[in-house]
């Protein structure tokens, strides 16, 4: 069985069903992409995996354990960390406090060591550790969001719209950090509207269209697929 296995998942908001019969699997150690246009249901899927939304039917199995419908704090302790769209940082709190909030559910001894590691990865955050998160630029905030996620010591990292609204140089930096993290053993699930970026930087990808998976495959193959070129890559 795969690291994360989703079977026939249905989920949405109240009476509104957004995801219909989603099935997908994520292998350990990979970078998996979920792409699709505006309103397709990408964020809804991540919110359902991390427990913000409860599915109406279907199963989510992580590391052999059924985590369907359990609360977000337990899912976090199972080491799935969700970095949400819009980052959801605590803007009136300092950068360091935000990072420590990332480790909120941990009880182990290496939190401070991980804080040092996060600062090594993002020196700018250490320079500004006393500054309020709200005072950072968009790119720096995304670094903080990533750093905060890492403070949760994830095995599976879900990242929603990391590139949205950021300058290309900054996106490149963030992507190379993601690849390093992946190389060091973390499994990463990225959700992007920027289809090219996602396909160029992942091993495997799923295409989501109005709540259903319409296509899946190796990213290097999907990027050559004529339908995808036409629909998502503007060619």
């Amino acid at each position: 069985m795969a690291f994360l296995e989703i079977e026939n998942l249905n989920s949405g908001y109240g009476d509104v069903n957004v995801l219909s019969d989603i099935s997908l699997s994520i292998e350990k150690g990979e970078i998996i992409a979920l792409v699709g246009s505006n309103g397709a249901g990408k964020s809804t899927l991540l919110k359902t995996i991390s427990g913000l939304l409860t599915p109406t039917s279907g199963k989510i199995i992580f590391n052999g354990k059924d985590i369907t419908g359990i609360s977000p704090d337990k899912i976090i302790r199972d080491k799935i960390i969700h970095i949400p769209e819009g980052r959801k940082l605590f803007s009136d709190m300092s950068i360091e406090e935000n990072l420590l909030m990332g480790a909120y559910s941990r009880k182990d001894k290496s939190i401070m060591k991980d804080l040092d590691n996060t600062y090594l990865l993002f020196p700018i955050l250490e320079e500004r550790r006393k500054q309020k998160a709200g005072s950072l630029s968009g790119g720096e905030q995304q670094m903080l969001a990533l750093g905060k996620g890492l403070m949760g010591d994830p095995d599976l990292l879900l990242i929603d719209e990391m590139s949205l609204g950021l300058a290309p140089v900054i996106v490149d930096d963030l992507i190379s950090i993601i690849k390093d993290l992946n190389a060091s053993g973390k499994t990463i699930f990225i959700v992007e509207q920027d289809v090219r970026l996602a396909l160029e930087n992942s091993n495997f990808a799923y295409i989501l269209d109005t709540g259903s998976i319409t296509l899946k495959g190796k990213s290097e193959e999907l990027i050559k697929n004529p339908d995808i070129k036409k629909a998502y890559l503007g060619m």
């Binding site: 913000l52 704090d73 976090i76 959801k88 605590f90 803007s91 709190m93 420590l100 909030m101 909120y104």
Partner: protein, 286 residues
């Protein structure tokens, strides 16, 4: 004379600040305007009264009991009742708090009758003179304790993990949930702290002023005014709001008479709202 009025206002203002601190915390973090706040202050006052009358425990010492009992009451109310409607409209929580207030007031009337009581400590009338100003010891101690409690809360909120989680929850609910915060637990703790602060304020109130089961209504109103004047979302807000109300009230009643006390507090509320719609220090949402 002017200095005396100013000092009187400051001493009372410190207590007003403590009264409003709990209301402001609950409001800022949970978006609940707790109409029952004054009723919780009243319970705190009666706990002190009862402990003093039946066991002789010094009212200042009973601060520990009133605040811990009120913490448990507040935590339980939030866990048991309010968490059920926490995502509901502010209107629903308002009505719920109103119901809790009516319940507490009627229970208190049944148990204590409408009689006005007083905590008569032996040192109640002692005072000292400084620069021609008379300062009663109890008022000075109550003021210092109110400030000390405010400082303790500040350290709790900024230096502890739970305090950090409370602030995080108030700033971004989803962000807090995705950090592993169990919001219903944090809300129960916050409500518990808010009512514990009400209990502490009740104790200090009982040492200085007479008490009756219906005193809560006007105290809710005062806490509300202080919260608005100081502004939501900062811990210094209630202190500044309390001192402002205390001083203005002190001068106002001196010039116009005590019958105008409520009118004076409302006038200052209106004036502040015209010039600083979010309060003196406020930065929170409208």
């Amino acid at each position: 004379m002017t200095l005396q009025i100013l000092i009187n206002g400051i001493l009372k203002g410190g207590l007003y600040g403590l009264m409003a601190l709990g209301m402001s915390l609950i409001w800022g973090v949970m978006n609940i305007i707790n109409i029952a706040h004054g009723a919780f202050i009243m319970i705190g006052a009666y706990i002190t009264f009862l402990l003093f009358n039946f066991t002789g425990i010094d009212p200042f010492v009973s601060l520990i009991f009133s605040s811990s009992i009120m913490f448990l009451i507040g935590y339980t109310i939030q866990r048991g009742i309010i968490n059920l409607v926490i995502r509901a409209e502010i209107f629903i929580t308002l009505i719920l708090a109103f119901g809790i207030e009516i319940f507490i007031n009627n229970a208190a009337l049944m148990i204590f009758s409408a009689d006005v009581r007083k905590v008569k400590v032996s040192y109640g009338a002692s005072n000292f003179n400084m620069f021609g100003v008379t300062i009663p010891y109890v008022r000075l101690i109550a003021f210092l304790l109110a400030i000390a409690i405010t400082i303790i809360l500040f350290f709790f909120m900024t230096r502890t993990k739970s305090g950090r989680a409370i602030r995080a929850t108030s700033q971004d609910l989803d962000g807090a949930v995705l950090s592993g915060v169990r919001v219903s637990r944090i809300y129960a703790i916050t409500f518990g702290i808010g009512t514990a602060l009400a209990g502490a304020a009740g104790t200090l109130w009982a040492i200085i002023f007479p008490l009756s089961p219906t005193m809560g209504g006007s105290l809710t109103l005062k806490s509300f005014v202080v919260t608005i004047i100081g502004g939501l979302g900062t811990m210094l807000g209630p202190v500044i709001g309390g001192l402002t109300l205390g001083i203005v009230e002190s001068f106002g009643t001196n010039w116009f008479g005590t019958t105008f006390e409520s009118l004076i507090s409302f006038s200052i509320l209106v004036i502040i709202l015209i010039f600083r719609p979010k309060g003196i220090l406020g930065k929170g949402k409208e």
